[in-house]
Every structure is written in C-alpha cells, then in structure tokens.
C-alpha cells in the first residue's frame, strides 16, 4: 500500500539532494526563485505585520493605559531636563562651529538615511536576520549599514527585493564590525554569534586597559559600518594577558527592533556617514534599547 508514496518520497528526496548539491558546488543558489519567493512573501508579511501592529497599538493605546498619567509626569520632567541639556549642547556646538570655521575645517555633509519598518523575522528558527519594508526601489543595496536609535543593528545582505530587504543582525554568527574603544582609542574587532547575546571584542592589545562600562564605537575600518556609531559597552573582562576575553553588551535590544534607519551610502568610504570623533549616535527611530 505504501509502495507508491515511497516511490514519490524517493523522487522528492532526490530532487532535494540535487537542489542542495547544485548550490554547494556553485555557491550561488537560485536567485530567481529566491527573489520571487522573497518578494512575494515580503508583501504578505508587510500586510500581516500591519495588522499585527494595528492590533498591538489598539491594545496599547486604548486598553493598556494604566499608569499613563504617572508616566506622563515623569516624561514631562525628563523633557524639561533634556531641553536644558540641549541648550547647553547647542551652546557648546556653536563654540565648536566657530572653532572649526577658525581652523577652516571642512564641515561633514549630512548622511542620507532612510527609515524602514521591520516587517518579519527569519522563519528559520534561531537565525538572526530580519526583513525590512524598503528595497531596491528605495535605493537599498547590499552591505548598506542599518542603525536603530541606540546603535548599529547590522547590514543589508543578499539581493534586496523591490520593496523589501534582508538585514543581518550584528549578533549573528558570521557578523562582526571594526570597533574602537571610546576612552583609549584602541582598535579591535567586535564579533557576534555567541549564545549569550554578548559580543566579544577581539584583537585588542593586551597592554590596553579595558574597564567595564566603556563604550565601543564602530571604527569604519571594516568598510561596512561608518565610523563613530555606538556598538555597545564593555560588560566585563575575564582573564588576563593572552587569555583575556572582553564581553560587550550590544547597544541595541535586538528583540525589540521596530523602526530602523538605513544609511544610503555604500561602505567603500569608511568616512561616509561617519560621526565626528567623540559624538555618540543621535537618537533616531523607535528601535533599540
């Protein structure tokens, strides 16, 4: 009774094996099939994500309003504090600008960014990519850097569809970034892909003193991420000398990314979109911690 289904199973499995072996040999995959599937599913995901967001916002805006008054007062107070800080920063900025003009330094051109919404996670369990609702028609290209409010999220991988693109998160197994310690200026390589959700800062000189809480910024040396954006902060340092391991907590909370910004400049020039030294990432969008 099972003979015909078994024959069918053998044929299907052979088809799969052939499919796998084609890709393993050529390392190129099936771009057309992938593009069609990805493009179509991105449309469906955008619609489903829209419905899910609508339900969530209805819940949070109408049904889960307990404690909003208290939160509102605290936020007003925080706004007042921040306005004060902003004025102080503006005064300092005016001074810096005057100094730059005095020294005839070139002003940095403002980097062009594009806001995008995260519409889907990776359907393969445990994979660390997300799909955004901007694609090739919006000017998205592979390897463009993606940022959230708190820091660097990752980069665009693969060929973007017309209205969607895949973003590899910085905590993924094969992801990493050129990094620099804020206080000492010592360079290193920030590697992702560890099960504990922390980065490891590698290739830092043993002579450099690294303290917990120190900020880690992108160095731009990887030619992927522009210089000066926040990657994370040192969580702890285990061991000494050659066995020293530097653990870095990501600046972005990767489990709650909703809105991201894509830097619309290809990473050939490490200074494209770079922040001036000492200036942390300005808050943008809703994503991140």
């Amino acid at each position: 009774m099972l003979r015909r289904p078994l024959a069918l199973l053998v044929i299907v499995c052979l088809g799969h094996v052939l499919l796998i072996s084609t890709q393993v040999q050529s390392k190129s995959g099936l771009p057309v099939l992938e593009a069609v599937t990805f493009g179509t599913m991105a449309r469906v995901q955008a619609a489903v994500a829209g419905v899910a967001d609508a339900v969530r916002s209805t819940w949070s805006q109408y049904f889960a309003l307990r404690g909003v008054e208290r939160e509102n007062q605290a936020l007003r107070q925080r706004v007042l504090e921040l306005e004060g800080q902003l004025q102080a920063e503006q005064a300092r900025s005016a001074g810096t600008r005057a100094l730059q003009e005095a020294l005839q330094m070139q002003q940095e051109a403002p980097v062009k960014m594009l806001a995008a919404r995260v519409i889907a996670g990776d359907p393969a369990p445990g994979s660390l990519t997300v799909t955004i609702d901007r694609g090739s028609r919006d000017g998205i290209e592979p390897n463009m850097a993606v940022l959230a409010g708190a820091g660097v999220v990752g980069r665009v991988i693969g060929r973007p569809a017309a209205h969607a693109a895949k973003v590899q998160l910085l905590i993924a197994r094969d992801a990493g970034a050129g990094a620099v310690l804020e206080k000492t200026g010592q360079g290193g390589f920030l590697a992702g892909g560890f099960g504990d959700g922390l980065f490891r800062l590698e290739l830092v000189s043993n002579l450099t003193t690294v303290t917990a809480g120190e900020k880690v910024l992108s160095s731009g040396q990887d030619k992927l991420y522009p210089r000066g954006y926040l990657l994370g902060s040192v969580e702890r340092v285990d061991g000494e000398g050659r066995t020293r391991v530097i653990f870095v907590r990501p600046a972005v909370d990767f489990s709650h990314i909703e809105i991201v910004n894509v830097i619309l400049a290809l990473p050939a020039d490490p200074d494209a979109g770079a922040l001036p030294p000492g200036k942390p990432l300005p808050p943008r969008g809703k994503g991140g911690a």
Partner: protein, 173 residues
C-alpha cells in the same frame, strides 16, 4: 488527500512563524511553527500530505531565510512522511499523544538539519542542546494547543447548533 487544506496549513504556518519570529529575534525562545504545521498535515491527512507539506514548507523556509535551499526542505519532507506513516499505522488521536509526536518530530528534524549542515560544510558543529530543548518544548506546546483546538472546535460548534435547534423545538411545542 485534500490539497487545499495542506497548502493552507503550510502557508499559515510560514506566515505565523515569520510574524512571531519578528518579536523573538535574538531571544532565548526558538520555535518552528512550520514543523508543527507539517506534523498537523501529516497526522490529519497521511504520509503523502505530510511529505508535500514538508517539501513546500521547508523550501519556503529555506528560500526566505537565505540558507542553502533544500536543507530544511529535505529534513521536513522526511519528517512529514515519517510522521504521516506513524499516524496512519497507530491510532494517535489524543492531543497529548499528538504533542509527543510533535516533540519527537522536532528532535528528528533538528537532528537531520544539523547532520545535513555538517555534511555540507564538512565540519561537525557544536550541538546547541539548550536551544534544541527549548525549541522542542515550544513546538510541543504549540502542537498540543493546535490539536486540542482542532478537537474542541467542531464539538463546540455542534453543541451550539444542537442548543439552538432544541430551543427552537421547545418554542414550537
């Protein structure tokens, strides 16, 4: 075998997986709703349906995740077929028994995926035991809820119809 429900189950599972994965990125909880959908199709409609659901669901998952196309497809095809064959040979009707099948299928599917990856990359990877246990537990819970709902919903609907009919009868009487 009815094709439409199988395709529907797989499509819904893929969309749900991608939608829920969006909120779980980088988190500790890993689950595979597509596998739950494949097991559902296999137990409801047999080995061929399970194989078909596994093929379509696995290939969709592979193509969306950018990995090697066919790895998930092959493992889910075999898992779906084996689940369907078990389901037709043994009477497995209780939700908890079916949830156990989901658990076993999760382990088998993940084992095959790891094995295929090892063969392709010619390097044996470190087996993520904690993630594997978490995924199996999450899939089992989702499977139990799905099968319990599948059993409960037709009964509730029939009881509702019977109630309406009997109240109509009393009014006539």
């Amino acid at each position: 075998m009815r094709l439409l429900p199988v395709l529907g189950a797989v499509f819904v599972a893929v969309v749900l997986q991608a939608t829920l994965a969006r909120y779980m990125v980088g988190g500790r909880w890993v689950f595979d709703l597509v596998l739950v959908g494949v097991v559902y199709a296999a137990l409801q409609q047999g080995a061929v349906a399970g194989m078909l659901a596994g093929t379509i669901g696995g290939l969709l998952q592979d193509s969306l995740s950018g990995g090697i196309l066919g790895v998930g497809g092959l493992s889910k095809t075999l898992t779906g077929f084996a689940t369907g064959a078990v389901g037709t040979r043994f009477v497995v009707s209780k939700p908890y028994a079916r949830a156990i099948i989901v658990a076993v299928a999760s382990v088998v599917n993940r084992g095959m995926t790891i094995g295929l990856d090892a063969m392709i990359h010619q390097e044996w990877p470190a087996v993520p035991w904690v993630a594997l246990a978490g995924e199996t537990a999450a899939n089992t819970v989702f499977g139990f809820l799905l099968f319990a709902a599948t059993l409960a919903v037709p009964g509730m609907a029939a009881r509702g119809r019977f109630k309406r009919r009997s109240s109509w009868g009393r009014r006539q009487w």
